[in-house]
Symmetry: D2
Subunit: 358 residues, 4 copies
């Protein structure tokens, strides 16, 4: 109801402000008997961590996750998994100048309107720091998906005007993490990095897009009508900070096509397949066993290192001077977040599908 | 859980297959004391009805809604509103040839995989006929929004390659319904209609996009983190049949911009406002009082009047011959559905926001 | 949220006032592939129907259920099951005298306080007529339970001061329905019937209790902490009109015992069992495979055929004269309702338990 | 879904095993602007704490709650309140003998059946230690209720066969906490304490009952049909460890009465009231402004200091020797838990009622 939970059976609830004591969450509904590989989870967190390269924020946060319950002798026991990550790098004094200024395209004003009370230190609850918790739940979801051989790969496919034009079938996913911008094509990756560096030096920020591919999907996942698989994936992505758009399969380009071009005809080779896959692996809201692929648009980060005019809560004009250590482009660090949210959705629907038949 | 409900406080649950006895639903959580204008609800249904013009399906369905509960002396009484619409035009014999063929880009195969059992007559549960129920719940939601002076206008902004390039501020929303394709610009409307006619004659179908604008919004609606206002709007739209993408505010174009261009600076005139509105009226997932606007991509209808190759459930190749009376383009009839889903989301968040403060 | 839904995976949502057009509901989450025996469902409804004997209300309602969706060729197809029962015996003129009087121990006053608007004809939404819908969903749940050999038997174990002292193990459940008061012991049944007749002739009503036994339960159903199996059973029972109390296993008597008396020691014969069963088949909120048994207390019906003093909405004193055809004792007709709610809870937890393990 | 959350708008989700790192929870939906009195919350926890008197367990746990989010400058800010209580007194070696024995009337066997994996140290997730988290959420709920002048008082009204016969109207609630058994009548309190001492010395345990009274209730809380106010209170109580029964208003005794005796007639003095209150302040599932009162039955604690026969997971007979420091009677420490769960239910329905009317 208050919007801090996601999922139905596999369900994550998170808490925490950027400058409070800690952030954390509870994963309820994780089936018992899963071996928890803490190193893998921490490695996923490290993919999202600040300071991992020169094109992301240089804040220092170790982002070490502490598990408090639900795991015994390295296995899940069916009870809720409580976890916590301390806020080490609070530096509240950095934010004193913001107490009463409404930063442009931030959530200061809307939180004030909604709640009347607000933690003005940093982004508070609206900070992308909250997504750390999603990566924890997503990493555990990935461990479940491994049991089903389902894989999820996201990568940066656009930075500003620079687009990766290759289709995902032409890419080598194993190269994603060797690029600091997380684009698996060496050449495009290099151009993107240069662009971000240039933007950063200008005290500015830049948007982009992330593509994601889910492979080895079983058919039959997704609930018809309101909880279509792509509707839940879309909501998952749109709930990530800075996301402005979502498209799957043929997406917005598909809207320009004719039915005779767009239809995916079925054929039988060793199993039922479709020749093309404009449907993006989902038909009628339910997975058909083909690859699921989708694209997520991110706006440029709102915090820029330039002087901006704005007002305070009394409506008086004030000037903002960009301070602190911020991301010139969220894309590199958002890649594991996109994968995590996708993993949570797929695991949730895997469990939901257990009740489809008698 | 099984995906047939939408909303949290204002909550719609629907039932019905295209060729069963009836479709219908229950609206739970509609506040007491609302005067119900049945004529308005029926008029909204008529905007979605088949046969309303030469560019939509010529099926005949009266789509008369019967209210069964929750309304007394023309007012809501706080109890669930049950309603029903009979399926008059079932013509099951039309579909006998489909018993065992998997229609390309339809949900026949995925439903079979998910459930094992399937109503093969028409689309069954996957038919867009289900959206009739959404229009009923959306019309009642609009009656609630009228009390708050909030307005919602959707219109066809793209058919195939034909795009309406004007911004919504340059349009006269009162002209939307005088265009049979529901595009408020006369010239573009005409071109779109010609394109659809041409596609229909070729036995083909075509995709497009609908834009939607919500005005006179109060600030403070939307729940942070997972139930961001745009995430719920996005899910609402993606749950509509044939939708492939959703973007709000600057959307996918915003991903090409710099932060210094994209930031919406605050100013105070008679109230707190932003100079630009790339945010699309939502910051941090919460409405800021500016106009909300978004765009929804639709694929071309899968049912075409051409011969298509496919397979049956045994994996044997079969040939499909397009039959029946279908839409060459869903856009004109989808406009009221987009508005309805938007209205349901806004009303739900209006009620949810009543618990934000002590 | 607005309280008209029950269950998580197997989920019933109901609508309807006693004197509106119809009552009905939607069962969402019923697994596909279940053969629906309409005769069985109607027979269950007939066990709840008015006019079935001289000790229940003599109202005439055929209570024929119409299924509108979710069933095809006599099998469930996984989609929501919509159903409806027409209100045939509305006789609104009977209730005109009640427009503005608050009947003692009825919900007239509380509905007025909550909603401001009220359907004053009969009980409106607070009428026990709503429970008809629960019997439909309960009957389908029983069909699912048959696949697991789980049985549910409820019976009248108390009318006023008259108690059936035998334990359930000494009873022949096949005799329940041959008693019009639904007490399987001939002698006690006879005394109960005489008591109800006497009360009815005095224009009065009388309370009582229903006992219920669930047998052949698998171990492992129920969710720890908040959704303990007995907590969900308790809520299910307490949601039935006129219920004042719920106890399971040793119940209130167990509160007088010592731990050394009350503990159920485990033993292994052909399988793991407990020697005694004060736990009532549930330990830590989870079924242990022993019989589940519980008892439900019902108050006397509030509508009596005597003159009563009360007030109207203006606070003015008015006199009520009992009219219409009402139950002197709800117990006989409540037996199938208790069974139905129990069946819904067990099926829901059966489906939920499918996600306990990896 | 997995049963670790309670409430709809004001919603508590808990985590933690008795012998893990910590227990804790997330309170979502607490309105912004509430002043948090930490001393009050800690005082409530101390009422539940082990070691508070000679008739409860002598375990040492400081049960200091740490708030991690949702509170800023002593006020709630509308975001989720994360909190944690460390497990200080784990003493795992005490439990090594239990690794594979199924303790009588404990949840060892049922957890094994449900999950396959189990934390065998102490009660794990089934331990009443989890209720500490409920007291935290209940204390905050009480702070909200203070704004509405609503009060909740629970007290021990029965230990074994010893019953407090006085009605709640004859009691002085301010004396509850000066009795170590939390019975406000000096004489009965003394007898109860002696009984518990005697039972404790015999290495045994004893059951009892707690009564609870909610006063200064507004009319109109509770949702009709499934979420009746007493149904939610009943579920809340039945979810507490060791509870076997719940009755409200006239309860099981009411089932012996005639309608003419049981009906609560309305009268108007300065406001609308009922002369009697057999309804227990709730009619049709909705509060009518009269006092709500109910009674909760607790079984004797399953852990006794005597030798017990049982079996292990292989079905082999084993002998249990009671060890550790356990409660001879849970009643004194359960009083704040009953109040807490009641407070959570009332606050949740207060917030839900904000959407009843337009």
């Amino acid at each position: 109801m208050a919007g801090n939970s996601f999922g139905t059976i596999y369900r994550l609830t998170t808490f925490g402000e950027s400058h409070g004591e800690a952030i954390g969450g509870i994963i309820d509904g994780c089936p018992a008997g899963l071996t928890i590989n803490i190193e893998f989870i921490q490695a996923e967190l490290d993919r999202r961590k600040p300071g991992q390269s020169q094109i992301v924020t240089q804040r220092k946060e170790s982002d070490k996750v502490m598990f408090l319950s639900g795991i015994f002798n390295d296995k899940t026991i069916g009870t809720p998994i409580g976890f916590m990550i301390k806020n080490e790098n609070q530096r509240s004094h950095d934010y004193s100048h913001n107490i009463d200024a409404y930063r442009p395209s931030h959530a200061d004003y809307t939180y004030d309107e909604k709640y009347g009370e607000r933690d003005y230190r940093g982004g508070g609850r609206s900070s992308a720091r909250e997504t750390t918790c999603r990566v924890v739940a997503g990493a555990i979801a990935k461990l479940i998906l491994k049991q089903y051989n389902i894989t999820i790969h996201a990568y940066t496919s656009q930075v500003g005007e620079i687009k990766l034009l290759k289709k995902y079938q032409e890419l080598d996913f194993s190269k994603i993490d060797s690029s600091i911008v997380r684009c698996p094509d060496n050449l495009v990756s290099e151009t993107m990095i240069q662009k971000i560096e240039q933007v950063r030096k200008a005290g500015d920020t830049i948007g982009g897009a992330i593509s994601c591919v889910i492979q080895s999907m079983p058919a039959g996942l997704g609930e018809p009508v309101f909880d279509k698989l792509h509707a839940d994936l879309g909501k998952a992505m749109l709930s990530i900070n800075a996301v402005k758009g979502f498209e799957y399969g043929s997406g917005f380009d598909g809207s320009k096509m004719l039915g005779s071009e767009h239809n995916d005809t079925f054929e039988f080779t060793d199993k039922i397949k479709t020749k093309s896959n404009y449907s993006g692996g989902i038909q009628g809201g339910i997975s058909n066993g083909e690859d699921i692929y989708f694209r997520v648009a991110f706006k440029p980060v709102a915090t820029i290192m330039q002087v901006q005019k704005t007002i305070n809560s009394k409506g008086e004009p004030v000037e903002m001077h960009g301070k602190g250590r911020h991301d010139p482009c969220v894309l590199p660090r958002a890649v594991p977040i996109v994968e995590s949210m996708a993993a949570i959705v797929i695991v949730d629907h895997l469990l939901r599908s257990r009740s489809s038949k008698l």
